[in-house]
């Protein structure tokens, strides 16, 4: 099972929050917002795939 996905997402989150702070401090609020948005989209894409996999597992297990 791909447990390392949790750590991957945690790393992305921490990295993006650091980037956010650096960009905000250097006076680029809009850049910081874009970075956060892009990170959320990328992570959501990764998560959506896993959710589909989970629902498929449930469907196969309970004979939908």
């Amino acid at each position: 099972m791909n447990v390392d996905l949790i750590f991957k997402i945690a790393a992305i989150g921490i990295l993006v929050s650091i980037l956010n702070v650096v960009l905000t401090k250097s006076g680029r609020e809009e850049m910081a917002m874009m970075t956060t948005l892009a990170a959320v989209v990328v992570v959501l894409l990764m998560v959506a795939k896993e959710i589909v996999k989970l629902f498929d597992t449930v469907k196969a297990l309970f004979g939908f």
Binding site: I9, A10, G13, N20, M46, V58, L61, F64
Partner: protein, 129 residues
């Protein structure tokens, strides 16, 4: 089995701490992290749950009960798991209204699946009378 439980428990603690760390700066990433932990934990659990379903099917088929009565039961169990998971995610994000709607839809759909069982019960009762 115990190894999986220990693994999930430790992973959950680590994920919770990571969520708290991340949520300070961007809460949406923390929510997604919690969501993916739920997905992975449930995947591991359902990967092991196949034996339960198999045992249930074997018992039903050997006891002479109509096998097609088990199908809606299993289906409703799966639907309940999916509904509960989505409702929990929506509640975590703070959208109680959407969570309530998903719950309602889940209940209606489960009732739709359950209708054949009810009709077969009514048939049995009417055949006795």
């Amino acid at each position: 089995m115990e190894a999986e439980l220990v693994r999930i428990a430790i992973l959950g603690i680590i994920a919770a701490i990571c969520v708290v760390i991340i949520s300070g700066k961007n809460p949406e990433m923390g929510m997604i992290l919690g969501l993916i932990f739920g997905v992975i934990a449930l995947m591991i659990a359902f990967g092991k749950a196949g034996t339960i379903v198999k045992t249930l099917e074997d018992t039903i088929s050997s006891s002479g009960i109509d096998a097609k009565l088990l199908v809606p039961l299993l289906k409703i169990t799966g639907m309940a798991y999916i509904t509960q998971f989505s409702v929990d995610v929506c509640k975590d994000v703070g959208q109680n209204a959407i969570a309530g709607k998903i719950e309602t839809v889940g209940k209606i759909m489960m009732l739709v699946v359950a209708v054949p069982i009810v009709t077969s019960l009514i048939n049995i009762i009417s055949s006795i009378l």
